[in-house]
Amino acid sequence: MCKSDPPFNGELMPSKSKNVELYDRRKFLNRVAYACAGALGVSAITYMARSGEPVYRRPEKILTIPKFSVDAGAVYPRMAIVHGKDADRMVKAALEKLGGVEKFIKPGDRVLIKPNVAWDRAPEQAANTNPHVVAAIIKAIMPARPASVTVTDVSLNDPYRCFARSGIESAAKHAGAMVFIPGDGDFRTADLKGELLTQWPVTRAVFEADKIINAPVVKHHSLSGATLSQKNWYGMLGGRRNQLHQDIHTSIADLAQAFRPTLTVMDATRVLMRNGPNGGSLSDVSVFDTIIAGTDEVAIDAYSMGLLGLDPAGQTFMQMAEKRGLGVTRWKDIHHAEFTV
């Protein structure tokens, strides 16, 4: 017997309540009425919530990617090729040549910079954008008084390691920018409206920016020949993006069409000549000390391919991009400037 039980009082079936309540007619009818009302209510609610789907699905909001490009005016060159040693001066000079940073960034703009921070590699290995170039871009746009500058990428290796060991996290923070490392919940479904790429998870940073600066690095890539500014948009996607390899040329063209940046600043200070896109050995790296900035991604890619010894006209994704009117493969044909600082 449990300690909390009352002492045995002699009855065979001890009842908790001594006064058993007797029903009268009114009480009985009342209870029947309540029961019926309850049953009806439950039926009504289940009727209203009826659905052909076994599980409720919230209708997904499909976003579209805004166009970030700005026309600086025909007077200015569309591409500036700068040679030199000092990244700060090179980027600054390039932007001045393109019309000045104020042409691209308006006061109060939220600026997103998208370098290539895909790999857990040191800066010397040239698998990621040079941190000096990233810092130089941030410093160069600060005079235009942006509301915020954020650096982001969807890394392929562990992102904390990529951002730390590439030197980009500290370079960006020192230059006054924020670093955004997207986690599982930081992707939104967007319609890329491409030939092959339609609905894909895209990092939310894109939808929280007014201007985007693409800051890729020139690297060798076995499947597409080179990974340049157009392919850099790979790093905006989440999901099973490794499937993009199955038709990489259409994928690159689709990405370049979906993401139209305000500016592109290509890092060709160190170039990964082979074993790309992650390299690993210093013997794979050549030093070119060059930065290519401009508003025509295709032309910039075409020039950069020359550094790798590739013929831009021979690359399928370049032909596709040109056909779609994204830019010009024959970069010498457009208004450009080449100089040394």
């Binding site: 490392i181 890539h221 990489i248």
Partner: protein
């Protein structure tokens, strides 16, 4: 006169402060076991000061590995002060203390029964015997019962990820672990056991408690009862943590030095310190010598049973891919205490606690499951947090290799040509080649002209693997677009640490 309960310098208050401090420190150090926070922190400090890890390691490996001598920091004070570790430092013991306080509510009279000594509390000495005998033969299983390893494992494998699932503040990406909830259930089960037997784990099972109990049986400082002052009211049993019978002849080996009895005594008959002229006698360790010998003999059978079951220790197993820097498998099993620190620090979540993949002996030892993650090329963190040297620390240069020295190889990747997109389906892919981290890449390709079903011809890059360059990091398997069973998979063959699990003849 009753001693002052709320006095800021009462031993009980000091014990409370230290216990909170050490639990906080333990959690903090676990939290630092991560690429961004590790810096110079000694993340596995609690495991390194654990005397049982030290003793077992000494028996299995016949060496004192580095910081394990730190255990003397606990052993030497225990010789003088008793089992202070259990109530003042041990995070698992302190958690049980708190759990007992919250879960067990009894009337004052019932506490006397609850906290009196029971013969089942001897079991811990038999568990200790079995583990030590196994260790002496070279089979380390202390990780199953060591309190620090147990609490680390439960937090790392189950509770931190569960907390992150709710709050999402610990990790960037929610980690998942093989059989994670099972380890969590065990932990919660032992915590809930306090509802029925106060400090069930510490009193009944804990082999570290048993070891410290034996050591503390010579301690000079202990709870002393003044037989003149004592009026046998038994009130000292109310808060007794160790069930050490302070009301009669104290069982010094059971006393957890919680100091509660001193402050529960209305006659001030109890004190912690040196013996006085009227102090009562003490009881020795209550472990039946015959049972100890029986347990030792039974463990003699346990050892060949463990060693004769199929496991990574006696057979090369494809799935048993160990972290970089791991000792050869038999030695690895000698040192690994299943504490899961390597799994906490691993940035890609690739390290997983094995269930039966590595055999019975290998339960909860770390293996790489490349479907979940991959070994980050330049990362050597697991070796740096391993408290026992089962995974040896090394530099990135040693891991990646130099022209003179070969890179550390965890295994070898193999193509499943029936599943590979270019090989089986004429679809362009070579993601594996892109992500391969070695230079030159272990994965290479040949551009071939392939005839499609409709007769059209297509140029396709067909991947191949160079087993001499492959380091078995598993990033190819992890990033393969064939998601369920990848078309390229790593198995342990060719691993650097083994001289027998090899396939290619080379010097």
């Amino acid at each position: 006169m009753k001693a002052d309960l709320n006095g800021p310098f009462s031993l009980k208050t000091i014990r409370r402060v230290w216990s909170v401090f050490f639990v906080a420190m333990f959690l903090f150090l676990l939290w630092t076991a991560d690429f961004r926070h590790l810096k110079g922190y000694e993340a596995s400090l609690f495991l390194k000061i654990d005397p049982l890890v030290y003793l077992s390691g000494l028996l299995t490996g016949w060496t004192v590995y580095k910081g394990l001598a730190l255990a003397l920091l606990i052993v030497i004070p225990t010789l003088f002060l008793g089992r202070f570790f259990c109530s003042w430092i041990c995070p698992y013991g302190i958690l049980h203390h708190w759990a007992g306080k919250i879960l067990l509510k009894r009337s004052a009279a019932e506490y006397h029964e609850e906290n009196a000594y029971r013969p089942i509390y001897r079991i811990k000495y038999y568990i200790l015997t079995a583990l030590i005998v196994l260790s002496a033969f070279g089979a380390s299983q202390i990780g199953l019962f060591d309190p620090i390893a147990t609490v680390s494992r439960a937090l790392i494998i189950s509770l931190f990820p569960a907390f992150d699932q709710l709050a999402g503040v610990i990790y960037r990406k929610q980690p998942v672990y093989l059989g994670g909830a099972l380890i969590g259930f065990l932990f919660i089960g032992f915590i809930l056991a306090n509802r029925y037997v106060n400090r069930f784990w510490c009193r009944t099972l804990c082999p570290l408690g048993a070891l410290l109990g034996i050591i503390s049986s010579v301690s000079i400082m202990r709870i002393r009862r003044d037989v003149d002052k004592c009026n046998d009211c038994f009130k000292c049993l109310k808060g007794c943590q160790g069930a050490c019978d302070p009301h009669t002849e104290l069982r010094a080996s059971e006393c957890l030095a919680c100091m509660n009895c001193i402050y529960d005594c209305p006659e001030a008959a109890l004190a912690y310190g040196l013996p006085g002229p009227r102090s009562s006698a003490h009881k020795p360790v209550d472990a039946n010598r015959r049972r100890i010998i029986e347990t030792a003999l039974a463990s003699l059978v346990l050892y060949p049973m463990l060693k004769s079951s199929l496991g990574s220790g006696n057979t090369a197993l494809a799935e048993v891919i160990r972290p970089p820097g791991s000792l050869p498998e038999p030695d690895f099993l000698r040192r690994c205490i299943k504490c899961s620190m390597c799994m906490k620090v691993c940035p890609t979540n690739v390290l997983q606690p094995a269930l039966l993949e590595a055999g019975v002996e290998g339960l909860w030892t770390p293996i790489l499951v490349n479907k979940i993650g991959y070994c980050e090329h330049h990362c050597t963190l697991c070796g740096h947090v391993c408290p026992t040297g089962a995974i040896m620390p090394m530099t990135v240069k040693d891991k990646v290799g130099t022209p003179e020295k070969k890179a550390v190889k965890l295994g070898t990747a193999f193509y499943d040509r029936g599943r590979c997109l270019p090989w089986a389906m004429n679809v362009e892919c070579i993601v594996c080649e892109e992500v391969c981290p070695t230079s030159p890449k272990a994965i290479w390709f040949e551009t071939k002209e392939i005839k499609n079903r409709d007769g059209s011809v297509k140029k396709l890059k067909i991947p191949y693997l160079d087993p001499k360059l492959c380091i078995g990091c598993g990033i190819c398997e992890n990033k393969c677009p064939v998601r369920d069973t990848a078309a390229i998979r790593v198995t342990s063959v060719g691993e650097t640490r083994s001289t027998t699990n090899r396939m290619i003849l080379e010097k």
